[in-house]
């Protein structure tokens, strides 16, 4: 009977051969059991290889983990994105900068051309500040210069069509109690 509880291979349990085959199998097993094993160096060599591989794997895993953690910080697309940003910035600067072929166009002056109408006015000496504000309100004007030594002011009216401007001026001239003179100021 072998270890699996089956009759020895090649025997019939009902035959007389069975008992002798049991002995034969036991003897065979004993003979194989008595065989010597390999030298201890074999076990040492195998296990050393495996433990060395385990160590290599651990180092490899740490390296992989490190690379994985570093990947978001140094993505491969970063250089491309940086280059793209530089190009966009360059294009924006070229678009926004003034045309350098006409340097005078870049010079700003304090005397910006105005499209408003300027009038030189003089108010009556007895006119009150409220009356003057009221008149300026009628004209929609603001004082931009003055007073001069002779009591004159320069006022500025927003651009309007000539008909409206004429109506406003007529209304202003009608205010004899406030207005002394009213004339166009030289440009």
């Amino acid at each position: 009977m072998n270890a699996s509880g089956q009759p020895p291979p090649g025997t019939d349990p009902e035959s007389g051969e069975f008992a002798s085959m049991q002995d034969l199998q036991r003897a065979i097993r004993a003979a194989f059991d008595a065989e010597p094993g390999p030298a201890p160096r074999v076990r040492v060599a195998v296990l050393r290889h495996i433990h060395a591989q385990q160590s290599d794997n651990r180092v490899g895993l740490l390296a992989q983990l490190s690379a994985w953690l570093r990947a978001p910080l140094v993505p491969r697309w970063a250089p491309a994105a940086a280059m793209l940003l530089i190009l966009v910035q360059g294009a924006a600067l070229l678009y926004l900068l003034p045309d350098q072929t006409n340097p005078t166009a870049a010079v700003t002056t304090r005397a910006l051309p105005t499209h408003a109408t300027r009038l030189r006015v003089a108010f009556k000496p007895l006119a009150t500040a409220a009356q003057i504000r009221d008149l300026l309100g009628v004209l929609g004007a603001r004082i931009v210069d003055g007073p001069t030594p002779t009591g004159g002011y320069v006022i500025e009216l927003p651009t309007a069509d000539p008909r409206q401007l004429g109506e406003k001026l007529a209304a202003a001239r009608a205010r004899r109690d406030v207005l002394l003179t009213l004339e166009l100021a030289p440009p």
């Binding site: 270890a3 699996s4 020895p8 090649g10 085959m21 004993a30 010597p36 390999p38 076990r43 296990l47």
Partner: protein
Amino acid sequence: MDLSDQAAARDIDLLAAAASGDPAAFELLYDRYERRVYNYVRSFVRQPALAEEVVIDTMLAVWHGARSYVQASRVSTWILGIARHKALDAVRKAGRQGADLQLDQAAALVDPAAGPADDIDRKRNAQLMQRAIAHLSADHQEILRLAFYEDLPYAEIAALLEIPDNTVKTRVFYAKQQLKGCLEKLGLESAQ
């Protein structure tokens, strides 16, 4: 579950643990198979040093290939199959076939560390059997080892040796006949 099945189940557990990278499990598996693989390899490879190299190659292949084991056969069949291929490769590379061991070489197979003095008879019987087995052809030694010592089913032996089931049966039959003849001959010689 009998002892053989329990051992097979234990082997599967150990191999699965080894496949997941557990060196301690592999160490246990190694200890269960080292001697068996070595002596199986010795059926093909005469030089002990070369046989030891084959054992190293085999057990490293088991470690590296543990994940490829699919339970189509016993773990023992799988491991011995690897050992067989490695041994035959080694024999081919060495340019010689593993010839039958001579009687004086067979005597050297007895484990010098075996049993105490009161086991002399058992030791002598084992030695006699070893010498008788050593007289057999490599094929017969192998089939006896696989069938009687490794307890492999005929179907797995057939798959391992790549021969038909019926060939396994006839080979077992003739191996037993040869062994009996050798035992009778050696028994007479020792009696004289």
